[in-house]
Symmetry: C2
Subunit: 336 residues, 2 copies
DNA sequence: TTGAAAGCGCTAACAA
DNA sequence: TTGTTAGCGCTTTCAA
């Protein structure tokens, strides 16, 4: 046999510790994992040896023996959007608390890439996967085949047979519209995002916008749609401006879209909020860094991350369909 | 013994494949890994069995045997900055090409978090680590102890004993300043970023700015400094405006800082580029999404990522100190 | 309280 | 060309 790779790298193994401490390898495991009581003196000797050699259990050997890699996977459309970057970070933090690490993939909003990456994760035998899917019916076969649990994260459209965590989009939209109404605006339009191309489902923020207006007895203002990107918001806003029907106030589907909306408004000489007030969605750093700063419906990301991690590595549970409440974060774009 | 975790999860092992194909387990490995020639008929039987059972080698067992986890680690200050988000994505892609996956951590620019995360990665026995450090002399002891190779990525200050990949900041600064000079501006100031608090090293972009002005025979315009964040840029620009010495043109240390600079300019009623022209650094999405769009010195991220991955998992090599060239990406902020 | 030993699934040297 | 086998380092049952 060649020398062990670990040894050749200079990493101490459990046997090295056992020898130094003058105990059997089993005892080292007992001490390190705290699985069994050992004599105080013995424990001390083992701990000394561990410290002296800088021993750390080999994770591959552990994983092989335990059937758990203590790793989780995450697939999201992009990290260029600070909303997802922040969500991923919160997941990373929540997972670390429980001793798990996260393998992260960005699919660039490609369904094919998403499927491939899920398959990669299945191949790595991660203990669970967080999926922020690009589509409403993701292809989860490779994970199912490997028996790997999944949480659909950032998930508006709930699948009955899957765990999911998402924000209450309807309620969030209500918050936005009601706030604009409180400012006294009666002409409240929307720049709505369109989700995946296949689905003809109307975005729930749009539904919420309509509901809220109805409840307030207001006539819906103009609505335009675009992709959930700055460009999408930009193009949509330009159309609105060209049509000369810019409402007094706008609810925008995401902070990223709002960046484009602001840009189009600036270019057209429209002042925000003096000429058109804006409230957007997500409460990401994009909102804080925009000019003017955006009033935005913020999602409780760390709460969502905690719940998602718990669903994967916590105690057994019922089917999870968590719908968390958003809250308004005030900026200057609404006129506050 | 309890049933094997893999088996209990319904995952086929190499033995299952061997049995179904009527060969020895070794032959399965030969076929799957292509390490040894086998008879055509045998190979076919094995491939059939593999396909039928959906067999994939257990990565933990492989790692244990081979001494390689086929995983890499990456630690960066934040993914909220699209520059790092994009860099991480390019690393992910380059690593995937070679069959490696990447465990990513964001340190929130905390030195302590950075050290802890490097230690976590060492504990996981990743095959190599990319580090975008917050400080110029990162604590690499845990990685060194484990014999894990490191590439300092996005690294301006080269450490002689470490592999590093970074952009030529001096040259990049020259590009920016020369472009502003070509526009006919003679009063060219700077909003410079300050790196880690400990180091009193002047940022190389600042040095490059000075060099370039000298070469052009121009007197340096006003300079202000701030952290490499939108807020840092905002505060710095406000100081500049308050001092009533805003130069005709500004070189800004990063796109993120430039966001803050633009905001301060807008608030003060300064038009960009009519009153003050701006060229920034990084060429990230922040530049494309700003208003006006930023002319920026762009870094060749995928080239950097490829080189960094190669250094970790490619063939043996000399000490790598790659310094790549940036190039100018034109927006509207310079007056073009 | 401690130790011996089986075996997780795999690779590769060696034998047939 | 194919099979046998010795571990990789670890956890845990079972026996002492």
């Amino acid at each position: 046999m060649p020398r062990s790779p670990a040894a050749s790298r200079g990493r101490a193994t459990r046997n090295d510790v056992a020898k130094l401490a003058g105990v059997s390898p089993a005892v080292v495991s007992y001490v390190v994992n705290g699985t069994k009581k050992v004599g105080a003196a013995t424990e001390e000797r083992v701990r000394d040896a561990v410290a002296k050699l800088g021993y750390r259990a080999n994770p591959s050997a552990r994983a092989l023996r335990l059937g758990s890699t203590e790793m989780l996977g995450m697939v999201m459309p992009t990290a260029m959007n600070p909303y997802f970057a922040q969500l991923a970070h919160e997941v990373e933090v929540a997972a670390a608390k429980r001793g798990y690490m996260v393998l992260t993939f960005t699919s660039d909003s490609s369904v094919v890439a998403e499927r491939d990456q899920l398959e990669q994760l299945a191949g790595r035998l991660v203990d669970g996967v967080f999926l922020c899917s690009t589509v409403s019916e993701p292809d989860l076969r490779s994970l199912d085949l490997a028996g790997i649990p999944i949480v659909l994260l950032n998930n508006s459209v709930t699948l009955p047979t899957r765990d999911s965590v998402g924000v209450d989009l309807l309620h969030g939209a209500h918050l936005a519209v009601e706030h604009l109404a409180e400012h006294g605006y009666t002409d409240i339009g929307m720049v709505a995002g369109v989700g995946d191309v296949g689905g003809d489902q109307q975005d729930a923020r749009e539904t919420g916008w309509l509901e809220s207006l109805e409840r307030l007895g207001l006539t819906p203002g103009a609505i335009v749609r675009g992709t959930f990107t700055p460009d999408g918001g930009y193009e949509a806003m330009r159309r609105l401006i060209r049509s000369r029907s810019v409402p007094r106030a706008l609810f925008v589907g995401s902070d990223q879209m709002a960046r484009g909306v602001l840009r189009a408004a600036h270019e057209a000489g429209l002042r925000v909020p003096e000429d058109v007030a804006v409230v957007s969605f997500d409460g990401s750093l994009d909102a804080a860094y925009s000019w003017p700063t955006l009033t935005s419906v913020a999602q409780p990301l760390s709460e969502m991350a905690e719940a998602a991690v718990d669903a994967l590595v916590g105690p057994p549970h019922e089917r999870l369909h968590l719908v968390v409440d958003a809250h308004l974060v005030l900026g200057r774009s609404c006129g506050c």
